[in-house]
């Protein structure tokens, strides 16, 4: 009996996972399915109607690569922010979070600029299957980025209220970080399958 108790505690400890983190990972798994269906829809319509639209004349790979670079760097800053919070370094957390917010806003500005250019060139939600699926996919991703930026802005201002305890809030920051990194990995896929592949000669 006395031998069984530590073994039980040990196995219990091994399974212990923070609920917030577990639910965020489950949510991200379900969001994968959400984006998976939208990416499939875009690719299928591209395959079925290849002659419907040629996006190479419209897409600016330089701008999209810049957006990708910005999002990747914001992910690195987010990792530093999470690490700073784990160490209890509030100053570093705020600095890095501010960097992520700034980079997120740059990404959104690039997307707004891109959408404006495309709309002026005649590619709209109603202009065909390409426009519909393209705007649905990239727009939904943009909404995810906007939600992430809003979340981080709230967290940044909350850290100035003095109510944020580094030990208690570390998991909250980590969960926000997971969401932000997910937004980044979705863009990595979108950048390749929606933009880059169109340019293969």
């Amino acid at each position: 009996m006395s031998d069984a108790a530590p073994a039980h505690n040990d196995s219990h400890h091994k399974l212990m996972v923070d609920n917030k983190k577990l639910f965020m990972w489950l949510f991200l798994g379900s969001d994968c399915m959400f984006f998976g269906t939208m990416i499939s829809t875009h690719l299928i319509y591209r395959k079925l109607y290849p002659e419907s639209f040629d996006p190479t004349s419209l897409f600016s790979l330089e701008l999209t690569s810049f957006s990708t670079f910005i999002l990747l760097m914001s992910s690195a800053l987010m990792a530093f922010a999470v690490s700073a919070m784990h160490k209890g370094n509030m100053k570093s957390f705020r600095r890095n979070t501010l960097g992520v917010i700034f980079f997120g806003l740059i990404f959104l500005a690039c997307q707004v600029y891109e959408f404006t250019e495309f709309t002026h060139a005649g590619l709209t939600l109603k202009s065909g299957t390409f426009g519909s699926t393209f705007y649905m996919l990239t727009g939904t991703h943009g909404v995810h980025v906007a939600i992430g930026v809003f979340w981080l802005i709230c967290m940044y201002f909350y850290s100035h209220t003095g109510k944020m305890d580094p030990h208690e809030s570390a998991v909250d920051v980590e969960v926000a970080g997971l969401y932000w990194h997910f937004v980044d990995i979705v863009w990595i896929i979108i950048f390749t399958v929606i933009y880059l592949i169109e340019f293969i000669q």
Partner: protein, 113 residues
């Protein structure tokens, strides 16, 4: 990693190592993005370019998950939670791409509808 009992010195060393890994990974990811951009303009066979782009994209995808999202340092349960969703999503994409081939789709029926 966060669940292991270690000395403050070891913790500090771990954090420094993680920090170093984050910087290196950020640089590698930026470099890969540059390579991807150049790759599409190179006069190479399209199958090679396509395969390379997919491979590089997957490398970036899983690197961010493993290091930035700390999945290699975390519990296996979290990998399973995310992996299940990812596997279903990937399976759906692959299955739909095979099913919705031009040869299987009745375009006349779609036009009539």
């Amino acid at each position: 990693m966060s669940d292991t009992h270690s000395t403050p010195h070891a913790d500090h060393s771990d954090e420094a190592q993680k920090h170093h890994a984050f910087v290196n990974l950020a640089l590698v990811l930026a470099a890969i993005t540059g390579i991807e951009l150049v790759l599409v303009y190179l006069p190479i066979h399209e199958a090679v370019v396509f395969s390379s782009l997919i491979a590089l994209s997957l490398f970036k995808f899983f690197s961010v998950i493993a290091w930035f999202m700390h999945l290699i340092y975390d519990k296996m349960l979290l990998t399973l939670a995310f992996g299940t969703g990812l596997a279903i999503a990937s399976g759906t994409v692959v299955a739909l791409m095979f099913i919705m081939d031009r040869s299987f789709v009745d375009f006349e029926a779609i036009s009539a509808f």
